[in-house]
């Protein structure tokens, strides 16, 4: 049911030309996928997706629309046939590939027999907190998390340079020496 709603939302995103509506639909899409993650037992992921995907990403996109324009122009030169063909071929190849995937929800799948049982059995003794996801994130795989924060830091610097730098150049254009120290 949730999956069908996700597909309907994604199709509506393709059809609509009003970018404001597209961004709102993307927020709905994120919220729906967060609900799906709760159904699939991934509560931590659902929290993050609802806060980051549906919240922060939507706010960023709305901010961009406020700074640019909220209407997509009708394409004149883009032909829909070639992209459609590429998408159908890729999709068919992927669906052919699913025939080798082990069935959904089966406890005998290979993914459940590598390190996951060890995390579930030993993390309570080794780390001492009940939430296994937190133990793995902050202790067993803390280097991943360190790398993640590095990426976020780099992206924040990039955004500040791109937008902050532009604003300084614009304010320098009218020659007003009084304001140079503020910049």
């Amino acid at each position: 049911m949730l999956l069908s709603l996700l597909v309907v939302t994604a199709l509506a995103v393709i059809r609509l030309r009003d970018l404001f509506a597209v961004v709102m639909l993307f927020g709905i899409y994120s919220l729906l996928s967060a609900s799906l993650f709760v159904v699939l037992d991934a509560v931590d992921v659902a929290f993050t997706e609802a806060a980051v995907g549906a919240g922060v990403a939507t706010v960023f996109m709305l901010g961009t629309l406020a700074l640019t324009t909220s209407r997509e122009k009708t394409p004149s030169t883009h032909k829909p046939l070639l992209p459609l063909l590429a998408v159908l071929v890729t999709g068919a190849a992927l669906i052919y590939g699913t025939s080798d995937i082990p069935p959904y929800g089966d406890p005998g799948n290979p993914i459940h027999h590598h390190v996951a049982p060890r995390y579930l059995e030993d993390s309570a003794d080794e780390i001492g907190i009940p939430n296994v996801v937190s133990s793995v994130l902050a202790s067993y795989r803390s280097y991943d998390t360190l790398g993640e924060t590095t990426v976020v830091f780099t992206a924040a610097i990039g955004v500040l340079l791109l937008i902050g730098g532009a604003r300084r150049r614009r304010s320098e254009e009218p020659p007003r020496p009084d304001h140079e120290e503020d910049a």
Binding site: V7, L36, L67, K73, P103, V132, V133, L162
Partner: protein
Amino acid sequence: MQILGLYNYWIFIVLMMCGFYVVISRGNLVKKLVGLNIFQTSVFILYISMGKITGGTAPILTGTATVYSNPLPHVLILTAIVVGIATTALGLALVVRINEAYGTIEEDEIHAQSEDEAL
């Protein structure tokens, strides 16, 4: 049973292809980024579906449950969500700068302006 067992994966492919289609067929840069995010979220759904065990519960040790879903995909996707918002923010900042430089966020018009400048 085999059909039901793959339903999640098929929906993931449909969603991924929706995002892919938006990215390659639309010229508007903001819409391309929305398509990229749909693509990304579909991959999250793939990973979380793989970690699910029928009859299991969330991987929080309570002492009463016996079957837990696999916590490892959850950790990987938590990281991916945060990295995803960082890259989206950077992309949107680039869109804002492109709009300041060219006055438009349509790919065709940007190409046309670049060709005019080259001539």
